[in-house]
């Protein structure tokens, strides 16, 4: 029988323990398909792991930097990032939701000062981590669908 599982990668990043159903959003947020059109990306969704269902994204020949990791934390707070070098896990870290989210999410309130041409970055205060709730530092509006507001 043919092996259908996603194969190990030589170099790159494996994002594991993504909240089930969010793998495609992770890929979209990272913008990998546009930035590195030559990267091979493998996506596995609803994989049954030890801690229940999860999604996995494997990106070949690309190591994620911390700012990108922050972006993922907003929609996949339990994800782990594995940096793979020569088939080995060279670095492993959990994403952590920062106390403040700066310059990543756009405020959903069209009348918020952060949506005008003032010289400021958007800023959100993390109210709770599980479930994830963030609130605009300026207008205090809570963001209902965080993934749709990622810039």
């Amino acid at each position: 029988m043919k092996e259908l599982k996603v194969q190990p990668i030589k170099d790159g990043t494996v994002i594991d323990h993504i909240t089930p159903g969010n793998a495609l959003k992770v890929v979209k947020i990272l913008g990998i398909t546009e930035k590195q059109p030559d990267s091979i990306i493998s996506i596995a969704m609803n994989v049954v792991g030890k801690r229940g269902k999860k999604d996995i994204v494997k990106i070949e020949n690309r190591e994620l930097d911390p700012k990108e990791v922050d972006k993922i934390a907003l929609i996949a707070p339990n994800a782990t990032i594995n940096i793979i070098r020569n088939y080995e896990v060279a670095e492993k870290h959990r994403v952590s939701v920062p106390d403040e989210v700066v310059g990543i999410v756009k405020c959903p309130n069209p009348n918020c000062i952060s949506n005008t041409r003032e010289p400021i970055e958007t800023k959100f205060i993390v109210k709770s981590r599980n479930p994830l709730k963030i609130k605009c530092y300026y207008c205090e509006r809570e963001v209902e669908d965080i993934s749709s507001q990622i810039m």
Partner: protein, 308 residues
């Protein structure tokens, strides 16, 4: 308690003790606000009054407060006469204004504008209303009015009536009243009822609440806080007329209320309180308007360090 240099952006920036302290200072300011006593407490200080949106009471009472304390006022009430018309950002306007003054009072149409201004300004910023956001000095003067009229804030039953969904002042007021453990009744048509998150928060803070759609029975209410129902919230003018009519306070509404029940309103009012109520013992809204002066005097004196 040290207020010197502090920004006043939202009522949530204050503890209950700090609110009571501001009200205590405001009480001492009353004779000066009335012109019965002279003061030079803020002599030599300059307040910049930056009003990007129309205002009668907030702007005039802030200017009166500063001048009654011997301070000076610069500023504008129409941004059309400034470089904003040339496209200057709020951040640059704030940086310019602060180099000419010791405290900034501002009203701006965008939510979060005062918080942003406070980040750019070294001098204290007092929020005089940021879009549909906060209006902390209104909230403080409302609390001051309840305390002054009823002798205390706790122990009253306060009904908030009208547009509770979009009304800028009522969300902050509900929070502040909950902080004091005040029992509240939210009376509004279903489409303009208090947002769920405000109701939940007040309940979490331990406030006893009632949610109603009509003003049939307000016989046990101590304070009736009325707000304006805005016509533009209704796509159908007929619907507006129906709703506005059923929430109008007139002599008949007041037939079965407590003798010492007070009617408050942040003003401007349109039709929601009939002029015949003005002459009754219940009408507290003009005294409430005056109270804006001593409360704003207290805040100015505190943030400028005139009073420790």
């Amino acid at each position: 308690m040290n207020f010197r240099g502090r920004d006043v952006i939202s009522i949530r920036d204050f503890t209950k003790e700090e609110i009571l302290y501001v009200l205590e200072i405001a009480e001492k300011m009353v004779p000066i606000a009335k012109g019965e006593k002279k003061s030079n407490l803020l002599n030599g200080y300059i307040m910049a009054s930056l009003f990007f949106e129309p205002s009668t009471r907030t702007r005039l009472s802030f200017e009166s407060a500063m001048k009654r304390l011997g301070g000076l006022v610069i500023g504008f009430a129409q941004p059309g006469t400034t470089s904003i018309k040339k496209g200057e950002s709020l951040a640059d306007t704030i940086r310019t204004a602060e180099s000419y003054c010791d405290v900034i009072v501002m009203r701006h149409p965008h939510e979060g504008s005062a918080r942003m201004a406070a980040e750019f300004a070294e001098v204290p910023v007092i929020n005089g209303g940021d879009g549909a956001g906060h209006h902390p000095t209104q909230c403080l003067l409302d609390l001051f009015t309840i305390k002054k009229e009823k002798g205390h804030i706790e122990g009253n039953k306060v009904a908030l009536l009208g547009d509770l969904k979009y009304g800028r002042t009522v969300h902050s007021l509900a929070y502040a009243l909950a902080l004091f453990g005040v029992e509240m009744v939210f009376i509004a048509p279903p489409e303009l009822q208090m947002p769920k998150e405000v109701i939940e928060e007040c309940r979490e803070m331990g406030a006893k609440l009632e949610i109603k759609n009509d003003i049939e029975d307000i016989s046990d209410v101590d304070v009736l806080y009325v707000t304006r129902i805005q016509k533009e919230r209704f796509p159908d003018p007929e619907e507006y007329n129906k709703v506005a009519g059923s929430y109008r306070i007139d002599a008949k509404t007041l037939e079965k209320v407590k003798d010492d029940m007070i009617v408050m309103h942040p003003l401007p009012r349109v039709d929601e309180i009939s002029p015949e109520v003005d002459k009754t013992r219940h009408a507290a809204y003009f005294r409430q308007t005056f109270n804006g002066v001593p409360v704003r005097m207290a805040l100015l004196a505190l943030v400028l360090g005139g009073i420790e």
